[in-house]
Amino acid sequence: MAEILSLREAVASLVRPGDTVAMEGFTHLIPFAAAHEVIRQGVTDLTLVRMTPDVIYDQLIGMGAARKLVFSWGGNPGVGSLHRFRDAVENGWPRPLELDEHSHAGMANRYVAGASRLPFAVLRGYRGSDLATRSPTISTVRCPFTGEELAAVAAVNPDVTVIHAQRADRDGNVQLWGLVGIQKEAALAAERVLVTVEEIVDALDPRPGAVVLPSWSVHAVAVAPNGAHPSYTAGYTVRDNDFYQAWDPISRDRDTFLAWMRAHVLEAA
């Protein structure tokens, strides 16, 4: 059953140094508040998993929290590069970053296998791509009925998955809607699940397009209003596109980045 905790308690009890951590949300519902708490608590040596690393992982990587990144598209959507990600990969600053790189279809199916507790998933993918030559988690498998060779990807099973959702009830049942992305699969693939929510409500009245994660599939729920900012929470907040644009100059320079993180993350909350 999910415990309802403060964000500080939830991160302290669920996210440990060296963990494999997935913070998911496909543009929508990205758990920024939780990531900032991870940074404040100084959790390090993380293997970060995420289809679209986005600004959230640029921040974690730039602060030195990660030793490895598992991903499929690492940019600032609609804006350009993730400069901290590039600096880590190209120059090893602030520390080298190991990569395991996939396509979106591959990553999505790795989560599906993880949520299903299968060791791998099958897809038509990677054919002719050099990606397969660089990743130990891409292989092939032969159909026992037709003989066709297909791509196989290894399951991903994070130690912790962190997601943001619209709301939970007092028992810890979680409800999210809008672009539901890979949230459910990422949560169900993990050993431990932390969900930040905009609010706790008495009852989760049904909503079109809503996904419900029952309390017994979640470990901690923490209230974090506007906890997806600069991403958004459909029905509560809108995407702060200006922030995404502003992140480009902030993140280009190491010192500007560090000063920003100090002012807005380390000394905040």
Binding site: F26, T27, H28, M51, T52, F71, S72, W73, G74, G75, P77, G78, V79, S81, L82, F85, R86, V89, E90, N91, E101, H102, S103, H104, A105, A108, N109, Y111, V112, L123, R124, G125, Y126, R127, G128, S129, D130, L131, E148, G178, L179, V180, G181, I182, K184, E185, G209, Y232, A234, V238, R239, N241, Y244, Q245
Partner: protein, 250 residues
């Protein structure tokens, strides 16, 4: 009315969607073109975004593939695994529309790493995203790329996404079901694969652009098709629709 080469590129890219029913839309230039097509040549075009939306009808250009309006205006919102497995992989999408960092003469794409030469670390690009499977599984692929030696290169540093591989027959050999790239639309004109060799050749030029200019801006020795067409300038309607879209964009 005056217009820029970028505007004509986008208008021309939208026109290429005239016959399509469904389009899997990459973000950036492809999204602008696909949304413009819905306002001009193809009002019923079904836009599919990898964030899980089927039939998005945004009123302004989304900054990302996950903007709220893509979901709010969609016929259906599905999970990311579903969009890739049940819709893309299953071969239900007519056209995949992609941008690219590096494209070679067989319309293969690199969006992973750039070789900066000996002793220097590889330059990092964003990565594959949905492209490898979009290019594999859609009925055909359109690409929109700014015409430069940086983007249209002699040799890819890394093959992220297969277009026509190393030439005719390669897609079949690799088991890629779709027809692959049929046009690379640029701000100078259009390149299309030669029916015999699968090599991208110049088939269309913007008004006022010469074949020499296009060749100069191409990283391989660009061949010119026997009959090179001239791109129709944007109509007043096309231009108005594009500018309205862009003004409303983020």
């Amino acid at each position: 009315m005056s217009w820029t080469p970028d505007e004509l590129m986008t208008v021309n890219a939208a026109r290429a969607l005239a016959g399509a029913r469904t389009c899997f839309v990459g973000i950036g230039l492809p999204s602008a073109a696909a949304n413009l097509a819905r306002r001009t040549v193809r009002p019923g075009l079904v836009l599919i975004y990898e964030s899980g939306t089927l039939g998005s009808k945004p009123s302004r250009l989304p900054l990302s593939i996950g903007d709220g309006e893509l979901a709010d205006t969609a016929d259906a919102v599905v999970s990311v695994p579903e969009i890739f497995n049940y819709w893309l992989q299953a071969g239900r999408i007519d056209v995949g529309f992609l941008g690219a960092a590096q494209v070679d003469r067989y319309a293969n794409i690199n969006t992973t790493v750039i070789d900066r030469g000996p002793g220097r670390p590889e330059g990092r690009l964003p990565g594959a995203g949905g492209a490898p499977e979009i290019a594999a599984g859609c009925g055909k692929v359109l690409m929109v790329v700014r015409h430069s030696r940086r983007n249209l290169v002699e040799r890819l540093d890394f093959v992220t996404t297969v277009g026509h591989g190393s030439g005719p027959g390669d897609r079949a050999r690799l088991g890629l079901p779709g027809a692959g790239p049929v046009a690379v639309i640029t701000d100078l004109g259009v390149l299309r694969p030669d029916p015999e060799t699968a090599e991208l050749v110049l088939t269309e030029l913007h008004p006022g652009v010469s074949a020499e200019q296009a060749a100069e801006a191409t990283g391989w020795k660009l061949r010119t098709a026997p009959d090179v067409g001239e791109t129709e300038p944007p109509t007043a309607e096309e231009l108005a629709a594009l500018r309205e879209l862009s003004d409303r964009g983020a």
